[in-house]
């Protein structure tokens, strides 16, 4: 049972990694319009948390939202089609990488505005609490969002109203191009304490640790709605966006990243528990095929229809 879970989490992380490496290449080849922010090195957070969630639980995300989206069970082909700007995309090519969303999986959207996912998720948690089925809402945000007033407002409101929202902070030490030490005068731990909200810190690159802690928090939230904060220390391997040369990072920091790779850490743990090397080779092959097929299909999909430009602006009657 434990081994099966570990395998399932490893596969989910590898699926995200392989998908983002495919995106990295597509972007370098000039096939992806706009901006792409990759979460390579942060996969364990999305997978560890999502492994405790069900379809009716909602999640929302940020600029770096591919992993959160795929971990919630979103299919690869419409995911790639969206990022490539195609009609068959999750959002019919209207959103792109920063706005991937799949409401059928409870994925309420990545977000291009830092911190904006928090109030939306807090509102979703209010709705879920009123519905009373024990479902919860999860928002992923970076340490770069901590200086936004919304973070403080939402922790306060969710504590006052006992809302089942889990605030998952992916602390990779970087607020875009600046170290978070220059952005934040306090810490999330102290904020949690100030608002009286349950707080846990984990090694966000160890998926088993993220999952175990998230499981405890989620189980408590389902029983008695209340907010919780999970701070995950993690690593942003790529730049803030693809094309960012990262001149602002030191060589020693970059050299330290492979030792913290969440896939390698999970593999080492699993091998100790007896998962054979063959299994890893096999799953890598399967996922490579799955990703390649999805990319190939997405690339053949048509762009949105020009005449539909204004069609989706309103759900109700048209406008001027």
């Amino acid at each position: 049972m434990t081994a099966e879970r570990a395998k399932s989490r490893y596969s989910a992380m590898l699926r995200i990694r392989a998908s983002e490496e495919a995106l990295q290449k597509l972007f370098a080849d000039g096939r992806i319009p706009g901006f792409v922010h990759l979460s390579i090195g942060q996969e364990a957070v999305a997978v560890g948390v999502s492994s405790c969630l069900r379809d009716a639980d909602t999640v929302s995300s940020n600029h770096r939202g591919h992993g959160h989206t795929l971990a919630k069970g979103v299919e690869l082909e419409p995911f790639f089609a969206e990022i490539l700007g195609r009609e068959t995309g999750l959002c019919r090519g209207r959103g792109g990488s920063m706005h991937v969303a799949d409401f059928s999986k409870g994925m309420l959207g990545a977000n291009g505005i830092v911190g904006a996912g928090l109030p939306i998720t807090t509102g979703s948690a209010l709705a879920l609490k009123l519905l009373g089925k024990g479902d919860i809402a999860v928002v992923y945000f970076g340490d770069g969002a901590l200086a936004q007033g919304l973070v403080h407002e939402c922790i306060n409101l969710s504590a006052l109203w006992s809302l089942p929202v889990m605030f998952v902070c992916e602390n990779n030490g970087w607020s875009e191009f600046s170290p978070t030490s220059r952005q934040m005068a306090t810490s999330l731990r102290k904020l949690a304490d100030a608002f009286g909200v349950e707080y846990r810190a984990v090694d966000g690159n160890r998926v088993s640790e993220v999952a175990a802690t998230a499981e405890t928090l989620v189980a408590g939230m389902r029983k008695a709605p209340a907010p919780a904060i999970l701070e995950c220390a993690t690593t942003r391997v790529r730049g803030h966006f693809e094309g960012d040369r990262q001149d602002y990072r030191t060589a020693s920091e970059i050299q330290s990243l492979p030792a913290r790779d969440p896939l390698s850490l999970a593999r080492a743990e699993m091998q100790v528990e007896g998962v054979p090397p063959d299994w890893f080779d096999e799953v890598a092959k399967q996922i490579a095929v799955e990703v390649n097929n999805a990319v190939a299909k997405a690339l053949t999909a048509p762009p949105p229809i020009d005449a539909d430009l204004a069609a989706g602006v309103y759900a109700g009657m048209g406008s001027k």
Partner: protein
Amino acid sequence: MAEKHFIRAINEALADAMSADERVIILGEDIAAAGGSFKATRGLLDRFGDKRVFDTPISEATIAGVAVGAALTGFKPVVEIMFMDFVTLTMDMMVNQAAKAHAMFGAQRSVPMVLRTPHGGGLSAGPQHSQCLEAWFAHTPGLKVVCPSNPIDAYGLLRAAIDDPDPVIFVENKALYAKRVEMPEEWPQIEIGRARVARRGKDVTVVAYGAAVDWAEKAAEELARDGVGVEIVDLRSLQPWDETSVMESLSRTHRLVIAHEAVEAFGVGAEIAARMADVGFDELDGPIIRVGAPFSPPPFAPSLEAVFRRDANDIVAAVRRTLR
């Protein structure tokens, strides 16, 4: 027949919408226990309970954002922002989130929320409690904007706004809160996007909304004494606005004045004037004239605020100018 106050019409529309649909919840500062700064929500907490009527902290951005998230999760939230000046704090949630969700997510979901807020001056409430900022929202694809001029429209438009699948900014003019009308047998249904011809006249069309409709009525009375017939088109909806009704009226009168309490420059009147100068060019026998506030923050001193605010006299002067 019974008379109804504007504020009472808002209260009844909220109560009736909450009775009709249990997904309707209301949120805002001091709206539950205190019944709202202007008492629009008085009695709703007692009637519907604290799982439907929420007093929020003073966190406007989060109030709006919570409404977006609850709407995306199946509810129909109605938010009160105490003064329209405070919408600045909600702008990311309204403009980048609520307005865009339907288009940006490929029509997977819409955001059926309403943001109610009072605008307008005349109370010496000063630069941050008097503004009319509706043009910002009307300029934002994905939002709808309505502004009733009387209690009957207030009821009908608020019910329509709550039923609407899209986010609606519902603007209430503070000067109208005490306005009464004789109640019809029952509240009529009103469709968002449809204007109302408030008065028939053959010489000039005055397009107005909110409190400016009253100014237009007063101006029309005065002009009637000189034999000038004023047709008043009460827009009711600013986004979408009823271009057809304005065009039809212009085709009858051939002169156009547009009046609103908001600052004139880059306002709702500018959009209507530009459209009519285009599609209505052949109908125009005189310049299109706007009546709006001068380009200044609303001042505090009563003497200065009187200079700042437009009224019926300004409409009379505008009508005389376009007829010249």
